[in-house]
């Protein structure tokens, strides 16, 4: 019965190996600030560009999980992250009022644009947001929504409201993807529809398509379209385990002169994606 020895040895070896691997995983844990953020800051490559600078300036690593603003805020509520970088001002203000976050500070903005097929079936090019949305409703043209409670989705809901239009829900022309921004633009392209996107993600999309983008910007520059990003520290009084010292250091850094300049210099296809506007 030679195999018994083999089996016993095998399982012993496996346990030893497991212990070794686990030990290594836990031992090599440097101090890092954990951030929840939105897909737009990650998809555009802004965070990949900023993180090494943050490390150089402070010695700490920046780690982030990119989701919609809705989930990012929820992760903060559950004390699972130290800091948030999000873009839904109304929800954020309420969030801070309810005691979930502290020290909300403006960081930067870009703007939203309405994109659609170049053929523009509802004829919205160059019009105001309210006119454009009304034309889309009247024509029953396809409109693709994030539908994921993200900052962009919240902005879209506000725009319907501000334009005195009923929030579309089950209309056959209204498509709710429940996915990230780039995925949603791709759905709009497939369906020959319109969608609302932040300009940063659109530039990234345009650059990926190398000049052959089926979706083009049709409505831009209207006042309600500004997209403000803010940094919020998760409230350490509610969440004892969060690393507020690091969160605060990150918030100070990203609103400070060095990071603000870096944000302004960040370009894709020669176009500036975000405009820094932290208060001095």
């Amino acid at each position: 019965m030679k195999h018994k020895g083999f089996l016993a040895k095998g399982s012993l070896l496996m346990i030893a190996l497991l212990a070794l691997l686990c030990g290594a995983a836990w031992a090599a844990e440097p101090q890092a600030v954990m951030m929840a953020t939105t897909t737009s800051t990650d998809d555009t490559g802004l965070l990949d560009y900023l993180a090494p600078h943050f490390k150089k300036a402070t010695g700490y690593e920046l780690r982030w999980t990119a989701t919609g603003t809705g989930k990012a805020l929820e992760l903060g509520k559950n004390c699972d992250v130290d800091v948030l970088l999000v873009h839904a001002p109304k929800a954020e203000i309420k969030y801070v009022e309810e005691g979930f976050g502290i020290n909300r500070t403006l960081v930067m903005y870009n703007d939203f644009v309405i994109t659609g097929p170049a053929s523009d079936p509802a004829g919205i090019k160059g019009r105001t947001v309210a006119e454009a949305l009304a034309a889309i409703v009247a024509k029953k043209a396809v409109f693709v929504s994030r539908g994921d409670n993200s900052g962009t989705h919240k902005m879209e809901q506000e725009l319907w409201k501000a334009s005195n239009l009923a929030q579309p829900e089950k209309e056959s022309w209204y498509i709710s993807t429940g996915q990230g921004m780039l995925a949603t633009i791709n759905v709009a392209a497939e369906k020959n529809g319109y969608t609302l996107t932040d300009r940063g993600t659109y530039i990234k999309y345009e650059s990926d398509k190398a000049g052959k983008a089926p979706q083009v910007i049709l409505v831009e520059g209207d006042a309600p379209l500004r997209n403000q990003y803010s940094v919020i520290e998760v409230n350490p009084k509610r969440c004892e385990k969060v690393n507020n010292a690091l969160a605060h250091q990150f918030a100070v850094w990203i609103t400070g002169p060095q990071a603000q300049k870096l944000i302004g210099d960040f370009k894709l296809m020669g176009k500036q994606l975000f405009t820094p506007n932290a208060p001095h």
């Binding site: 497991l18 995983a25 780690r63 699972d80 791709n186 990926d208 385990k241």
Partner: protein
């Protein structure tokens, strides 16, 4: 369609060119699925043996429960494990959220029903005479279990490979519990989800091919060991 071919080229470039991001995701995938498989086999084999070998009241009901758990959706496991590991959850103090061991816990839950159910089936289908023979040779309970499992090894190996396939390809748990953090908890599957969301379909396909390649390497190794 051209991104299918592009994906193939990209996969070769990433693997041969030693792209550090890809290798980090490969390492995370292999590590986390190894933890999960080791844990689910250690827990699942004895349970599967008990379920397949012993006759106890409530056994059929237990079997029904295990078979039902085979259909556990990965996103649901992800949410469940998140609820426990979140700092506001009962196990929050362990600090396992957004770590590989955290993902491994979820994947162990995913693999466990597969290991238990298929081991039980393999043990059940053993010749009934085996038990009598082993007992007449004077085997105690521990030896009985060990030798029965050994005799059922081919069925159990199939169970392990099946569980491994589920663990390595799942995305719901890794995304929810791991958070898809670059250099840390980004696995091949969450990287595929990310690239696809970004509209980088060729990159997604490249990563998918790499995952298939790892699966091939694992199954080839196993079948080699089996022949020996």
């Amino acid at each position: 369609m051209d991104y299918l071919f592009q994906g193939l080229l990209e996969a070769c470039r990433l693997l041969l060119g030693g792209d550090p991001e890809t290798y980090s995701a490969v390492a995370a995938t292999v590590r986390v699925s190894s933890y999960a498989m080791a844990a689910s086999l250690l827990i699942g084999l004895p349970l599967g043996f008990i379920l397949g070998h012993l006759r106890f009241p409530g056994r059929r009901q237990a079997r029904l429960v295990v078979d039902t758990l085979l259909s556990l959706p990965t996103v649901f496991i992800g949410l469940l494990v998140y609820a426990f590991l979140s700092r506001r959850g009962p196990l929050g103090d362990l600090g396992l959220l957004f770590t590989l061991p955290g993902i491994a816990i979820g994947q162990t839950l995913l693999a466990l029903p597969v290991v238990v159910a298929l081991t039980a089936t393999a043990v059940e289908s053993m010749d009934a005479n085996l038990r009598v023979t082993l007992l007449s040779l004077g085997a105690d309970r521990w030896q009985l279990m060990r030798d029965t499992l050994w005799e059922a090894r081919h069925g159990i190996l199939a169970a392990a490979l099946n569980a491994y396939g589920r663990v390595m390809t799942e995305v719901g748990i890794s995304m929810m519990v791991g958070g898809n953090i670059k250099w840390h908890t980004r696995t091949i599957t969450t990287a595929i989800a990310l690239e696809t969301n970004k509209g980088m379909f060729a990159m997604g396909i490249a990563l998918g091919l790499i995952l298939l390649f790892i699966a091939f390497a694992v199954t080839a190794t196993v079948s080699l060991l089996r022949r020996k």
